[in-house]
Symmetry: C2
Subunit: 297 residues, 2 copies
Amino acid sequence: MSHPVRLEALEALDAIERHGSFAAAAAALYRVPSAVSYTISQLESELGIAVFDRSGHRAVLTPAGRLLLEEGRRILTASRELGAAAQRLADNWEPELRLAVDGLIAPHELWETVGAFHAAHPAINLRMSEEVLGGTWEALIEERVDLAIGVAEPPAGAGIRRAPFNEVAFVFCCAPDHPLARVEHPLAEDELRDWRAIVVADSARHLSARSAGLLDGQPRLTVTTMHSKIQAIEQGIGVGHCPAAWAEPSLASGRLVERALATPRPIQHTYLLWRSAAPGRALQWFIDRLQCPPGSG
Amino acid sequence: MSHPVRLEALEALDAIERHGSFAAAAAALYRVPSAVSYTISQLESELGIAVFDRSGHRAVLTPAGRLLLEEGRRILTASRELGAAAQRLADNWEPELRLAVDGLIAPHELWETVGAFHAAHPAINLRMSEEVLGGTWEALIEERVDLAIGVAEPPAGAGIRRAPFNEVAFVFCCAPDHPLARVEHPLAEDELRDWRAIVVADSARHLSARSAGLLDGQPRLTVTTMHSKIQAIEQGIGVGHCPAAWAEPSLASGRLVERALATPRPIQHTYLLWRSAAPGRALQWFIDRLQCPPGSG
DNA sequence: CATACTCATTCAAATAATTTGAATATTTTT
DNA sequence: AAAAATATTCAAATTATTTGAATGAGTATG
């Protein structure tokens, strides 16, 4: 009896409030009224306070009793959920799954999958972060995330497994009132030198940073997310390659226009990456659902 | 035994991890090792999972066991704190005290008192909100706060008690580059009509709003906090009366200058207000500390 | 490579805690 | 005024936990 507040007492308190009387609570708990009296007076003598005011006919909660009831319900819920989470974990379902999504992948490409996961496993929390280039890889290596989605050209790594994810096509974009928007022919490399390139910074914190798709000598503005890059191009601040899925809404509404290049940027294969040690079932669910079928890439 | 996760088991888990073995945990809990074994296997059979891996010599936590340990510690802490909070509440110490501070009062006027309270009662949370004019009164009436600090000319109200707090002197301020800053003589009322007045809106949501210190016909900009008012005057957007305690830092650094008025605004007496029904000890602490000594006003 | 030590479990017995059921007193409902 | 409902108390019955001794397995130590 080292603990003044015991779960049995909180359970009794909850039942009394819910059913309106000690007698009704006892019935709900499949116990006899005197057992409920015993549990409550146990709590009261442990704490040395009155939980119920018994001056009238029916017992009524004191302010301290109401505090115990209301906060106690949180504790009851937490302890039940902890038990359930431990059971799921023992069955290899993670309590939480952390996803790093590379900037190449537009958020809406994952909405359906995330929605399906939440519907199937409402108790498992997802934590998504956007990373860029080396940052996505690094987040996985440093165990800040469990699954990296949409990594281009992943370096080899011990203990890392991969599966093909999707193929990202790039469109070269500028704002509709940008000078390049009036050029009819496919753009050669030296025609781009005069225009600022918007590039997305590598989000790696410790591993060496990489850069992607730069034409030497072109002035540039570096931003930290693909969303910023799209906005910067829309504002006419510069031009650049954007993943088709990211550019599509802006192209459809006319906020961006596409220009052909003399040497188009090739399609980028991207991958799912995860640490090979004992993947949990939630991680496996995502791998199974997201990897592209063999032979389609 | 309706609860799968019992506090005794979480306590045992904590002691085992803390002391490194079942035997050491048993000693720390003043129990025999087999009792600890019993508690843990109880937990395991309730949940139907393994909490320890016993394949080696020493038992080692499974991932599910680690989850139970780590989250369980939160539950243990919460249940201990709940017991303590209930005891304090029974002794008439509120678990939380909500203060509404009128915009007339500068935050730094309360820092010392708030610091002293936290030092004396670290377990009692304070929640402070800034209100203006009728809003301060309303927050008290509607039981959103327990104590209103710095209310000017409070209306009478049933069940509301009051004590004098302090006296607020007003200084008429403008920006140093404002045209009024060059006027040498005390300003008459009709000299102010051409300049925008910055006024603080009444924050009352339901009760009738009040306005304070307005000269009829003067253009005005209404802001929601005294801090915004000071900033607006510093920016030269307008002029206005400010409580001396609020204006003092800006006057000292030259961001504001004071002008004399032909008819100076009188000193404002302000009050503490609280609901008279059974004040708790934390509320009483603030009333005792903040009310100005009788005879000094 | 024995020997002593530590670790965790099992089991029956001892102890402690809870639950029951009957008796009681008080208040509300009929 | 009688009947029904409420909560408590107490001793007895039941259930749960703790103990202590026995066991087997793994680790240091000389």
